[in-house]
Each structure stands twice: as structure tokens, then as C-alpha cells.
């Protein structure tokens, strides 16, 4: 079976940012995204998702290299200073390249 490589961009950040980030992701030409609730601990303390203000989310975007680059640069410039956010990109293989 023919496989195609794409990028998986994962962002873990504050739940308060969800609607803003979704707008950014759409505008930067990603074809889709998946959001899950998350909790954990980082340099900005424990975020246990017990209630709204301490909730975290994980956003995953499968896209091509250029889009992943655009989104990560934009997020880094705009959100890294003021928000609890980490972001990483990994290589993945997909079966239907036209979807991503």
C-alpha cells in the first residue's frame, strides 16, 4: 500500500484559547483538527482540568510541511509569551494524502 508522509502538529495549551486557536488554524489553511481535553504539569504549574480556568486542551493537526511551519511560527510569536503552551511536530504516514 502506498503511504505518504505528512506532519502531525500537536499543541498543548490552555482551554481558554480554544476558539481563538481554531480560528487561526482555519485561517492558516489546515484542513482539519482534533481537540481533546488534557491535564498535566509543566513550567507554569499543575493544570488538573478540575474546572474551566485550569483546563488544558491538546490540538492535533495533520497537514503538509509548509502549513505546519506556518502554524508553529505564528503560534510561537503570538502566544508563547503569555500563555502556557507547548508545540511539537512529528513525521507521520497517511493513506489518503488528498485529505490533508
Amino acid at each position: 500500500m502506498l503511504r505518504h508522509t505528512r506532519k502531525l502538529l500537536t499543541v498543548i495549551t490552555e482551554a481558554a484559547l480554544e476558539s481563538t486557536l481554531v480560528r487561526d488554524i482555519d485561517r492558516l489553511h489546515a484542513h482539519g483538527y482534533t481537540i481533546t481535553d488534557a491535564r498535566g504539569k509543566g513550567s507554569r504549574g499543575t493544570r488538573n482540568a478540575g474546572w474551566e480556568a485550569s483546563g488544558n486542551i491538546r490540538i492535533e493537526v495533520v497537514c503538509d510541511t509548509a502549513t505546519a511551519e506556518n502554524i508553529s511560527t505564528y503560534f510561537q510569536e503570538k502566544y508563547y509569551d503569555d500563555y502556557a503552551m507547548i508545540l511539537f511536530v512529528s513525521d507521520i504516514e497517511v493513506l489518503r494524502p488528498e485529505k490533508f
Partner: protein, 314 residues
């Protein structure tokens, strides 16, 4: 006799401080707060269907003015006495100018168990008090500039969960009237205190998580988080008395003035003033002010209202 709902709050706080594994699932907490917000809105709405809206206009305007005023007073205290950064001072001031629905619910339960009546349209004033502080907070942090995205701020403020449910409840109660609501009373009226007990259990747990950050941010915040509600309660008592509210109504208005927001304002500030440190205002509002109001404040504001009314009679 201490109200059992307060004991639930203490149970949550103690369990949290001892690092118990106890936690309410997020969906349950969400459900409990939705029921509380709707129940409060419905009760106010029923009352609105009984009296002409225009009679309430002076009270509504006075309360909005109080929301603006308290925020504007808190800001210089935080900025110059507390030496907070501009964004932090503005954000904390906004939290203290706005209201906490949880504290309001406890005050309602307190008056209920003492069988003291109050003006039932208070939820309307509750909704009105949520908004002005947020706007003032953003302007204090940002100044009025063209870059401020008022459209998205308005969306954040007016379409937040709290306002939508409170206003929605008010409208449903207003349209349906007392008879129409009797069919849903078992959930929203009869179970109110039980739901509130669960809510307070979770609030106790949340409060305990704020203790760590309080220790880091020092004594000024602790002093402010007690002194500001006491001062605001005086303003609220005076306003309630001048507007001719009953003793119960004055107690509620003082409680509203004294309470600090921990749902609507944090969400709005996080988006609109991202450089403000959210742990500062939450540690104050949740770690100190909420327990202070629930445990000591409300009975104190009641005593203050009684005193104001007897003093006024001479």
C-alpha cells in the same frame, strides 16, 4: 447552628489541603453550575413577571454605576500600594468589581434558613454587575486604542456561559410565570440546596489548590482580598439602604458588591489581557475572598444591613 452546605465547603477544603484523591468529575461540576445559574435566573424571572420593568430602572442603573466605581477604586490601590504591574492590577480590579454567583447562592441559602425575605429580582442585578468590571478592566489594562478587538471582547463577555444561562433563566421565568414553572420546580427549587452543597464541595477542593500560589504572592494580596470585600460591602450596604431595599435585599447587595468573580472575568481577561498573570487574581478571589465571604462575610453583611436599617430609623 452552622448550615450544612458550609460544612460541605469545609469538607472539600480539608480534603484538598490534605491532598485527598477526591475530585468531582469536570462534567458534574459543569452540570451543577449550570443548574445553579438557571435556578437563580428562573427565580428572578418569575419576579420580573410580577412587577413593571420601569420600576427597577433606578436600581439597575445604580448597580451598574457601582460595578464601574468599585473597579476604578480597586485599580489605583493595587497599582500604587500593591505595586502590581498595570495589567495585573487591572485584571485583579476587574475580578473584584464583578460578582460571584456561588457567593450569591450561599447568601440566598443563608437568608432562606434564617427566614429573612429579600427582593426576588436580585438575579437581574447580579447579571448587570457581571459586565461593567470586565469592560473597565480591559480599558485600564489596554487604554482605548483602535487595536482593541471590541467585537470579540463583546462576544466573550455577553456570550459566556454565566451570562447566557442567567439571562436565559430570567427570560424563561419571565415568560412562563410562577404557574408555568411549577412543573420544573422539583429540580430547580427543591433540589437547590443539595446542588449547592455539591458545588461548594468542589469549590472547597478548588480553593485548596490556590493555597500554593498564595504563599508565593505574598501578604499584600491576602490583605487586599479581605479588605476590598469589606469596603465593597460597606458601599453595597449604603447603596441598598439608599435604594430602599429591605434588610434581606441590602444583605444580598452587600454580598454581591463584596464577592469577586472567578468564572466570567478570568475567562474574559485571559483572552483580552493575556499578559496579566491569572494565578494572582484567582488566588485572591478563590483562595481568600470566596471562603472569607462564605464563612464570615455573609453573616457580617447581614448584621451590617440590620444595623444600617435600625440606625436609619434613629
Amino acid at each position: 447552628m452552622i448550615d450544612p452546605i458550609i460544612l460541605f465547603f469545609l469538607l472539600g477544603a480539608v480534603a484538598g489541603l490534605l491532598r485527598s484523591e477526591l475530585r468531582l468529575p469536570a462534567a458534574i461540576y459543569e452540570f451543577v453550575s449550570i443548574v445553579l445559574l438557571l435556578a437563580i435566573g428562573l427565580k428572578g424571572g418569575v419576579e420580573l413577571s410580577r412587577q413593571p420593568f420601569t420600576d427597577l430602572l433606578p436600581q439597575m442603573l445604580a448597580v451598574v454605576a457601582m460595578g464601574f466605581g468599585l473597579t476604578l477604586l480597586a485599580f489605583p490601590v493595587l497599582r500604587y500600594l500593591g505595586r502590581f504591574k498595570r495589567a495585573d492590577a487591572a485584571s485583579i480590579a476587574a475580578h473584584y468589581g464583578s460578582v460571584s454567583v456561588g457567593t450569591y447562592a450561599v447568601a440566598v441559602a443563608y437568608l432562606g434558613s434564617q427566614q429573612i425575605s429579600f427582593e426576588e429580582h436580585m438575579p437581574l442585578l447580579l447579571v448587570l454587575l457581571e459586565v461593567p468590571a470586565i469592560l473597565v478592566g480591559i480599558v485600564l489594562a489596554r487604554g482605548i486604542s483602535r487595536e482593541t478587538r471590541w467585537k470579540s471582547i463583546a462576544h466573550e463577555v455577553f456570550l459566556g456561559k454565566g451570562i447566557v444561562l442567567l439571562l436565559g433563566g430570567l427570560l424563561i421565568g419571565w415568560v412562563a410565570g410562577p404557574d408555568g414553572l411549577s412543573s420544573i420546580e422539583p429540580l430547580f427549587v427543591d433540589l437547590f440546596k443539595g446542588i449547592l452543597a455539591l458545588f461548594l464541595l468542589e469549590m472547597g477542593l478548588i480553593m485548596a489548590t490556590q493555597m500554593g500560589s498564595l504563599r508565593r504572592h505574598g501578604p499584600f494580596l491576602v490583605v487586599f482580598a479581605i479588605a476590598m470585600p469589606l469596603f465593597s460591602a460597606l458601599v453595597g450596604t449604603w447603596l441598598g439602604w439608599s435604594l430602599g431595599l429591605s434588610i434581606g435585599g441590602t444583605t444580598i447587595l452587600a454580598t454581591l458588591a463584596a464577592s469577586a468573580s472567578y468564572i466570567a472575568v478570568p475567562a474574559a481577561m485571559r483572552i483580552s489581557v493575556p499578559e496579566a498573570n491569572p494565578t494572582l487574581s484567582l488566588a485572591g478571589a478563590l483562595g481568600i475572598t470566596f471562603p472569607f465571604n462564605v464563612l464570615i462575610g455573609i453573616p457580617l453583611y447581614h448584621a451590617l444591613a440590620v444595623w444600617a436599617h435600625t440606625f436609619a430609623k434613629g
